[in-house]
């Protein structure tokens, strides 16, 4: 088998495994527990029409195997049924919240990776200097302080003591008039959550970058690169960071599942109208179709971004293409 093919067989196989396990787990967990659809059919909260609809949807009169196939078909078409609590399609609820979650996570993680990389490289070059100490401290904070605690303190500081940012929500109530005003209002609501995620995220990332770059700086090829007299900047960014890129991307990839956890907590602290918060509310309210759907979609997003990151690793590391040593 060609190396690239082997690489992708492994990655795609892993991704398929994750999705399959989550599907099976979802199916059984949500069926075996109190408040499962079978019991809910007997719930007086539901009108007879709703019960009939539910029975048909889950195929509750059919054997378990058929139920599973029906379930698979629904999952494949993202048909998660109606939410118990709002009686609206779960997919609709999730899609309504997804932009908020993405608007939180994408800028936050791009900024923390950017900031962390720059500071990490600087810290790697100036060992023992202030930059390195700052990076070490920020890293220790991000590994030992509960993220939600730091966010709560920030919220208390910047929304209560110095009320510059709003206490809660993704949008003012009532929302302002006009597209630009709404946009500005959304940014105002997102500023503190994004800032807090950057503050919590860049330290760990900078520490990783620093450690990898320090390791690369000790390698033989860095001596020759220095001999070429190409200047400190090219040496650091062009050679050291470039050589550290494949393992860095791999680590970034490993951190992606944590991003989803971060979304749940951040959206809870700041009361944002996002998917993570939706998952929490569904779990707390025993709204199984909603919780299952949100969990499944979040897993899909994680697996999808994992594959994307794998693709980037493959681009960054020529050794994978031709089967040299793999970077992890």
């Amino acid at each position: 088998m060609r190396p690239v093919k082997r690489y992708w067989t492994r990655r795609l196989g892993g991704a398929a495994c994750v999705v399959a396990i989550v599907l099976v787990a979802n199916f059984f967990l949500f069926r075996l527990m109190p408040g499962d659809p079978v019991a809910t059919v007997l719930d007086p909260r539901f009108s007879p029409e709703a019960k009939a609809q539910l029975e048909a949807l889950y195929g509750l009169d059919q054997p378990l195997g058929v139920q599973f196939l029906l379930y698979l078909r629904r999952m494949a078409t993202f048909d998660f049924g109606l939410s118990f609590s709002t009686q609206r399609p779960v997919l609709e609820e999730i899609l309504e919240r997804l932009p908020n979650t993405l608007a939180l996570l994408v800028p936050a993680y791009l900024l923390s990776v950017l900031l962390g990389t720059v500071l990490g490289v600087i810290a790697a070059r100036r060992r023992g200097h202030l930059a390195e100490k700052a990076v070490l401290a920020a890293g220790a904070v991000s590994f030992s302080f509960p993220s939600f605690f730091v966010q709560m303190v920030l919220l208390l500081l910047f929304a209560y003591v110095f009320p510059v940012f709003p206490l809660r929500g993704s949008l003012s109530i009532p929302p302002p008039e006009g597209t630009w005003r709404i946009l500005a209002d959304r940014i105002w609501h997102l500023a503190l959550p994004v800032f807090s995620l950057v503050l919590l995220g860049f330290g760990g990332w900078a520490l990783t970058v620093r450690n990898l770059v320090v390791k690369v700086m000790g390698e033989d090829f860095m001596i020759l690169a220095r001999a070429k007299g190409i200047g400190e900047r090219r040496l650091l960014w062009g050679h050291a960071l470039r050589a550290a890129l494949p393992p860095l991307l791999t680590l970034f990839l490993l951190s992606l599942p944590g991003v989803v956890s971060g979304a749940v907590l951040t959206e809870t602290v700041f009361s944002l109208h996002g998917v993570g918060r939706f998952l929490l509310d569904s779990v707390l309210g025993q709204d199984y179709p909603a919780a299952g759907g949100a969990f499944y979609l979040l897993t899909l997003i994680t697996v999808g971004s994992n594959l994307l990151a794998d693709f980037l690793v493959q681009l960054a590391d020529p050794r994978i293409k031709t089967g040299g040593e793999e970077s992890r």
Partner: protein
């Protein structure tokens, strides 16, 4: 070996979590002062909680007042006169010289009082506005206040207790139900330590077995276990924990199991790489050649080889578990009857810490978690250096 700071911190935490509550009387679940009271050291313009007995003598009880008027005041207890007084009263003299009759005690030789400033009837009888929260009339300026029983007959016995709940209480103040945050904080140590250490033991046990089997036996077992690790590492942890906690119940033991089941991956990888080199060691090959059973080799020689690093791994694993437990509790997925730091933060958020600016509800549990995590990380580093002295000094 020099005593690491982390060892001191852990010792103090252990003492505070397990021994100190034995000496402190009081149930942490019971209110002790007004809700949202600040810590005593925080705001000196606010009154601390006070509790004064009124003696039988003519002079009564005098105390000095130098704070803003409080919102609460209560008088409870019994008075017994030698014989029925024709004229008697419980008198309150303010620093400015005003005289208030808190309660008329004439015409009866035994009185049981239960007065509370939150009580409309009491306020009206005093002539206070039923709507103005503060008792500005009774505390008209800073100075000496006197409470006494005035009567034409001697007072035989008095168990009258004047209580001012105050706006300041204890080391860390009180929460939304008036519970002592310091006591809650102490009880929270137990949960964090209990869940943190037990869950890591569970996960280390799994990780040790999985790592040894994967590294030493190899082959299909290795492939299977390492694929499992990859899969577990690519699933978002917190949502899984949330769903499991909601489905399996929120008890501490369930939590320990759930957290243990989802945090053994790192240990398995570490142990596996050690087992790989252990398998190639000459004495192990010798044992194999002599026909020693795999189980014997692993139990007798494998585990002792990986043990030092495993200990370091255990210590380094505790922060992750403590943080996960706190996150679950913060999200409201913990047993509400169990006091934990995460639960305290959950309640702080749900019951208006942000609308009242009650920072003292946030800082103790949050900083407690952080300090405990930092201590375990430092301990783990020390154990790591002990297991592998090459790490000493320059850690990359």
């Amino acid at each position: 070996m020099k005593m690491r700071w982390s060892a001191w911190v852990l010792a103090v935490f252990l003492f505070c979590g397990f021994l100190l509550p034995l000496f402190l009387k009081g149930d942490p679940r019971e209110p002790v002062a007004a809700p949202f009271s600040k810590p005593v050291w925080a705001d000196r313009t606010q009154a601390p909680a006070m509790s004064l007995t009124v003696p039988t003598g003519e002079a009564g009880k005098t105390f000095s007042w130098s704070w803003e008027a409080p919102r609460g005041l209560s008088v409870t207890g019994e008075v017994l006169f030698a014989k029925t007084p024709s004229k008697a009263a419980l008198i309150w003299e303010t620093p400015a010289g005003a005289k208030w009759v808190l309660s008329d005690l004439s015409g009866q030789n035994r009185w049981t009082l239960d007065l509370d400033a939150r009580d409309m009837a009491f306020r009206i009888s005093l002539g206070l506005s039923p709507f103005d929260e503060s008792l500005r009339g009774l505390f008209d300026k800073h100075g000496m206040i006197r409470v006494r029983i005035e009567s034409d007959v001697p007072v035989e016995r008095s168990s009258l207790l004047v209580k001012i709940p105050g706006e300041r209480w204890g080391l860390f103040g009180t929460d939304q139900r008036g519970r002592d945050v310091f006591l809650l904080f102490l009880y929270g140590i137990r949960v964090s330590l209990f869940v943190g250490i037990l869950a890591v033991l569970v996960s280390s046990l799994i990780g040790l077995d999985a790592g040894l089997v994967a590294g030493y036996v190899g082959g299909a077992a290795d492939t299977f276990l390492m694929r499992t690790v990859d899969v577990l590492l690519s699933v978002p942890l917190l949502p899984v924990l949330m769903v499991l906690a909601a489905l399996w119940g929120k008890g501490l033991w369930q939590l320990v199991l759930i957290l243990g089941l989802f945090s053994w991956m790192g240990t398995a990888r570490t142990v596996r790489s050690m087992a790989l080199s252990f398998r190639e060691a000459p004495y192990v090959e010798g044992l194999r050649a002599l026909g020693a059973p795999t189980f014997y080799i692993l139990a007798r020689h494998g585990i002792p080889t990986v043990l030092p690093l495993l200990l370091a791994n255990i210590a380094l694993g505790v922060p992750g578990v403590i943080l996960s437990e706190a996150a679950l509790a913060y999200l409201g997925l913990s047993d509400p009857r169990v006091i934990s730091w995460g639960r305290m933060l959950h309640e702080a958020q749900s019951f208006g810490a942000f609308t009242t600016g009650a920072w003292w509800l946030l800082l103790p549990p949050g900083l407690g978690i952080a300090l405990l995590c930092l201590a375990f990380m430092d301990l783990g580093r020390a154990l790591e250096e002990w297991a592998d002295p090459r790490l000493k000094g320059g850690r990359a």
